[in-house]
């Protein structure tokens, strides 16, 4: 039976386009406020932990690598290897979230969270910076959580033989989603951690 391979893939890409515009709106907000409050953004970005940010970028780039390997392995018919690589991707995604949790906790610990008394005494631009930081990294982290859940399902499908070298499309589309989430982080990292 013919599987509409192209149709399924285009469907996934169309979903990613909606995601692009969804995140795009937030990037636009960031750009406008950064333009208006350049100095405040500069000062606020100094609170970011560049080491943890870099480590998380390394982790997410590597997780994209492992899921890409998982797709290639599957298409060569090596399902067991593919499963392990999918599990590795989940582990890396979880590590990303743990570090993100540590970063948020550290900030909340010093009173930097939306509407906190400490934050409200700061300049409007700094308040905006931290609001955008929490919203954008928060929604991004939500995407990582969803991605982990979807990959977990893919491991089950792989073990049950629903994903095979002849029918890898579900795993491929999962990979596309994971890479997209990686690309969003690729832009979030310089915007919040590096550009000061």
């Amino acid at each position: 039976m013919a599987v509409d391979y192209e149709g399924k893939k285009i469907g996934m890409w169309m979903f990613l386009f909606t995601e692009l515009l969804f995140f795009g709106g937030m990037f636009l907000l960031y750009a406008v406020f950064r333009y208006r409050f350049a100095l405040d953004f500069h000062g606020a970005a100094a609170h970011e932990n560049i080491v943890l940010g870099s480590l998380n970028t390394f982790i997410l780039l590597t997780s994209s690598f492992t899921i890409a390997l998982a797709v290639s392995a599957m298409r060569q018919g090596r399902s067991a290897l593919s499963s392990s690589l999918q599990a590795a991707t989940i582990a890396l995604g979880a590590a990303f979230l743990v570090i993100k949790y540590a970063e948020w906790s550290a900030k909340i610990g010093v009173g930097l969270y939306p509407n906190s008394p400490v934050l409200l005494q700061k300049n409007p631009g700094e308040i905006l910076f931290f609001s955008l930081y929490y919203v954008m990294t928060g929604i991004h982290a939500l995407h990582v959580i969803v991605g982990i859940g979807v990959i977990a399902c893919m491991i089950i499908f792989t073990t049950r033989g629903k994903i095979t070298s002849k029918k890898p499309i579900m795993l491929e589309n999962t990979g596309l989603f994971w890479h997209f989430v990686d690309i969003i982080w690729i832009y979030l990292f310089p915007l919040f951690y590096l550009i000061t």
């Binding site: 013919a2 599987v3 509409d4 391979y5 192209e6 149709g7 893939k9 285009i10 890409w13 169309m14 386009f17 692009l20 515009l21 795009g24 709106g25 990037f27 636009l28 750009a31 406008v32 333009y35 208006r36 560049i50 870099s54 970028t57 390394f58 780039l61 590597t62 994209s64 690598f65 899921i67 890409a68 390997l69 797709v71 290639s72 298409r75 060569q76 890898p168 491929e172 990979g175 596309l176 890479h179 997209f180 990686d182 690309i183 690729i186 832009y187 990292f189 310089p190 951690y193 590096l194 550009i195 000061t196």
Partner: protein
């Protein structure tokens, strides 16, 4: 044009590994530029250019865009163009208000 049930060519482990290493080199470069306070004049442009280079690698090799047909590439172009138009029009307002 490829048939609907035809798959994109398989990307080898070697290619994927090279792309991953290239991504790590770009990550190191962007951190070095930020920490070294070099190219201060272009402190927004350079990190964003490096980020776009990384995104390009992920799109082309990890997401297989390089091996896709013209339809998908045009669709992506349209989506990016729409986003760019939104940003450009907003900044027309921000700059010239």
């Amino acid at each position: 044009m490829r048939k609907a049930d035809q798959q994109t060519p398989l990307v080898s482990y070697t290619t994927l590994t090279v792309v991953w290493l290239a991504l790590l080199v770009l990550l190191a470069a962007t951190i070095a530029v930020a920490r070294g306070h070099v190219l201060v004049k272009y402190s927004v442009l350079v990190p964003l250019a490096i980020a776009s280079a990384k995104a390009g690698l992920v799109l082309n090799y990890f997401m297989n865009l390089r091996y896709e047909g013209r339809l998908l590439k045009v669709m992506l172009l349209v989506a990016v163009a729409v986003l760019t138009a939104f940003i450009a029009l907003t900044f027309m307002d921000v700059w010239y208000r």
